[in-house]
Subunit: 429 residues, 2 copies
Amino acid sequence: MADQRFQSLPGFRDFTPRDCAIRNYLFTTWRQVAHRYGFTEYEAPIVEPTELYLKKTGGELTGQLFRFEDQGGRDITLRPELTASLARIVGANQRDFPKPLKWFQIGPCFRYEKPQKGRGREFIQFNADILGEASSSADAELISLAIDTMLALGFKEDDFVIRASDRESWLGFCSANQISDTAGFLPLIDRLEKIKPEILDKKLAEFGVTRELVDAFIANPENASAAFREIQDNLNARGLGQFLELDLTIVRGLAYYTGAVFEIFDKKKSMRAVAGGGRYDGLLSTLSDGAADLPATGFAMGDMVIRNFIEETPNAKMAMEAWMQRNPACDVYIVVADESKRPDTLRILSELRNAGIHSDFSMSQLNVGKQFKKAEQSGARLALVIGSEFPEMQLKTLLFRTEETIHPNTDLIESIKKHLDSPDGPLIA
Amino acid sequence: MADQRFQSLPGFRDFTPRDCAIRNYLFTTWRQVAHRYGFTEYEAPIVEPTELYLKKTGGELTGQLFRFEDQGGRDITLRPELTASLARIVGANQRDFPKPLKWFQIGPCFRYEKPQKGRGREFIQFNADILGEASSSADAELISLAIDTMLALGFKEDDFVIRASDRESWLGFCSANQISDTAGFLPLIDRLEKIKPEILDKKLAEFGVTRELVDAFIANPENASAAFREIQDNLNARGLGQFLELDLTIVRGLAYYTGAVFEIFDKKKSMRAVAGGGRYDGLLSTLSDGAADLPATGFAMGDMVIRNFIEETPNAKMAMEAWMQRNPACDVYIVVADESKRPDTLRILSELRNAGIHSDFSMSQLNVGKQFKKAEQSGARLALVIGSEFPEMQLKTLLFRTEETIHPNTDLIESIKKHLDSPDGPLIA
């Protein structure tokens, strides 16, 4: 049982080295894919004026805010999401940047919710947004980014699918069925599977439609919007069409979405959405008082759900473990077998580090056996033994226990790099 | 004049793409050097129970806390620094990790201070700590890390120096001069240059010593401690000795330091410390109620002061700009010269991105001239023109306007990579 005194606050996480490495794996992968797509990174303050979040249409998050007064009497809030900050920043600076903007961000967000599996009070989000491009080609670019993010994380076609729809389809349905309160109707579609059937029937009846009519609409692929078809064609041309599925039950919970919407689903647990996004053409204008009146489409992925999904999916888990083994804390551990050679050890250590090789050693005097134990604990693939015969040294592989003598005229750095690149170096090729 | 409505809170920063790239340059450099030294990364929550900070001996920061009550009535605080969290985490988990720990962390901290140049209410710190090694070899390892961090940022021997001392020296002075209130005396030494001479003389007199006696002590290198000499020898062996200077006026402001202390100084403005650290052997035990009774030495560098220093120092500024040019948002911009080839463009785009090449294009139809303008704005070195003669394509360098025909049997990826690696690729070699 963990000592209560040393616990973080409920819903907040400590990242000890392994957790931090997993976090960094997500950061690295998110950044690499976003860069491949020509997205540029931005960041916003962790704390914003509260009014920024009260403006957001719908106001779904206002009950979950970490909201305070600072020492100067300002009403401030730990950001619960990034779109409001993005609108503020773009409202202030948009003339500096050619459109469309393709911007991404990675950082913590905060919501006062009941902590549970996959949900914390502090979580990290990857946000990608395209601003200033109204056509479906931007939605396709964004969904393509989402798919390539999943592939880069090691997920395969059997593991996940993008279910997409378009609010336009439902606006057509509403119009055909004389439903004027679309803002009241769409959340019912979002919660079709979550509301008890008898209650759902009653609520649908209030809008003058039946469950049968709704189900028939959902089942008919003819109801896909023109934008959905364009997105499908676009993804087909990229060779990614097989990852997209029409699912008219996807409307997304938040009120501000206006067009194409999508979620990434775990194929094994088909009810679990691991990320999602969609088009929100009016929101930037609302949030920025008209200063940034740009059509927009965006996508967000949280670190907690995706980490769970990775750990439950063999393909993705293996990719993550392989990355971790390719990025150990230490490549070479130097064993000081003759304490009088410590000054030489320090010089060699500096040479290795200057060459970019992750190198460590025992700072205090230890017997050789204990130093080898530390070498193994460090995750290093190689031990470099410096003893009385220095400048001659021994380079040992810790996995296969092979040994090579480094002579005074040997290029030490090259010998080490050859080992680190060779099959006996990386534990997984 | 910026529109007030779109301003971040005072002391909080927006990181638009260039600012974010500079931040990422710092992150990347800090991580690379820490990894070379075999340090592993950890992270703590942004928010902690307030009591964690009230425990810290001295309590220097308690007036500057962003301190609040959450919805559950908890007294919580945005972290002003990392050592308290480190003690909490190590107190909870230390049995899981072999000693010594070499841990580093990069992330935001918060202090309610008057915003000014180099000081914000939200700033980013790089923290590196060695826990569980009492000998001066750990201080030397840490100072060496600090030096190599500066060198990796492009600073040279003419730009910076490490001034180091040891509180032991002053404890000797106090003992020789019958000063028992060392906690009252050391802050006077820390502020020697900042206190008015007549007030200083009066305060020193209260401890029974004169300014002359203090100055004579400082001027005499014989007063260097044994630990300082060991650190100097250690750095000499690493080839880094020239960066270290004895400066007995360095004692660091915070009360918890116990041994070797050091600051990195800007040589041009000799009064400006850009980072610092030192040994704090009792603090972890105090903070963790004895659960983590480990000797410790640590170092912190903030992003705001170091960024100013980089921008004022030609060597470092050039290194930063070179990094930015080696890491553009976009490597290849695809120009669609024949709109009927858009599906082919999407396929080629995916191929490039799958090969790790940062690639962008115009999502909507634009004339060729405008697409070339966008290519230049993107920072790309290459434009790939796809027109009616596809699968034949043209690869153009945007700087020198050279052109190369890509034939159907040419390896496109290889041609692009050759350009990106060749001298006409990177703008700075």
